[in-house]
């Protein structure tokens, strides 16, 4: 449908224009953030608490999905364990125990395994970092009970750098991005995020833009 009326940019207040980042809005395949996304530029459908009215999320980051390999392997092994034990013929269950009891215990066992996997997934899913056109937000969620939400404005950012050590990190292209700030929290760590050099470039672009404004 053709646009009938498009508002002219010069009508906007100067401050609002200034806060717009340099936006390379190329048609990137990353624009749609799905459940397992670890890196997404200009994600659609992502919101966070205290998001301001015209605040745009530029970058959405999680740990690279490869970092989940360890707990996935453990879950698979634990899931196969009862089958392997049965196939190998180990019989450590007393003959007095009824089949119903064994069945209930197996269901309980699989529920515990699933709960373990689910919590590991949640630790990955809710451990996110967001870069908006006004600030960076870091949500940390570890071990079910530890939760930390920190944010700082782009003005407070002093330096940004990344480290990528090891063959696996180089192969899968992920690393740690450290954002140093002048605020009460001295630095923000985006751990094991995909395409760290891209993240650094975008944050540096924001810093430059803010300083020039």
């Amino acid at each position: 449908m053709p646009d009938i009326f498009l508002a002219d940019n010069k009508d906007k207040p100067k401050n609002e224009q200034r806060q717009q980042p340099e936006s390379p809005k190329y048609s990137s395949p990353h624009n749609h953030a799905h459940m397992l996304s670890a890196f997404c530029e200009y994600p659609s459908g992502i919101y966070f608490a205290n998001q301001q009215k015209h605040e745009e999320v530029l970058l959405f980051l999680r740990r690279h999905f490869v970092t989940n390999t360890f707990w996935i392997i453990i879950t698979v092994v634990l899931s196969l364990l009862p089958i392997i034990v049965t196939l190998l013929g180990f019989n450590f269950i007393s003959s007095n125990v009824s089949r119903v009891t064994i069945f209930l215990f197996i269901i309980l066992y699989y529920m515990i395994v699933f709960a373990f996997a689910f919590v590991q997934f949640l630790s990955w899913y809710f451990n996110i970092s967001l870069v908006t056109d006004r600030r960076i937000v870091d949500i940390d969620f570890y071990g079910l009970l530890y939760k930390n939400v920190a944010s700082t404005t782009i003005n407070n950012i002093q330096d940004v750098n990344y480290t990528q050590v090891g063959a696996i990190r180089s192969f899968f292209d992920y690393g740690d991005v450290v954002v140093q700030t002048a605020g009460t929290i001295s630095h923000f760590d985006f751990l094991a995020v995909p395409h760290p050099q891209k993240v650094v470039r975008i944050v540096e672009g924001l810093i430059t833009k803010t300083k020039n404004a």
């Binding site: 953030a33 799905h34 459940m35 659609s44 459908g45 992502i46 919101y47 966070f48 608490a49 125990v97 119903v100 009891t101 209930l104 215990f105 269901i107 309980l108 529920m111 515990i112 699933f114 709960a115 689910f118 919590v119 949640l122 899913y125 809710f126 996110i128 949500i139 969620f141 079910l144 009970l145 939760k147 939400v149």
Partner: protein, 77 residues
Amino acid sequence: MLNIPIIDSIIDSISITKIGFLVLNIALIIFLIVVFIQVGSLERIFKETHDSTIIKAIAGLMLIFAISLFLLALVIL
């Protein structure tokens, strides 16, 4: 044995298997309640359009399933 007739008879009537199962099940239920509460609070901080709802639903279903299992075990065992 505690040599108290009433308590000893109660302990005799409940098998170790049943106690073990119920204790494990209660621990799992408490754990899942904490998970459900945390997912709810984290969903308020960060929300993906549909995916956060799915995750909350999974947490709720697991909790319901664990409670059902507990009730089933109370009846059967």
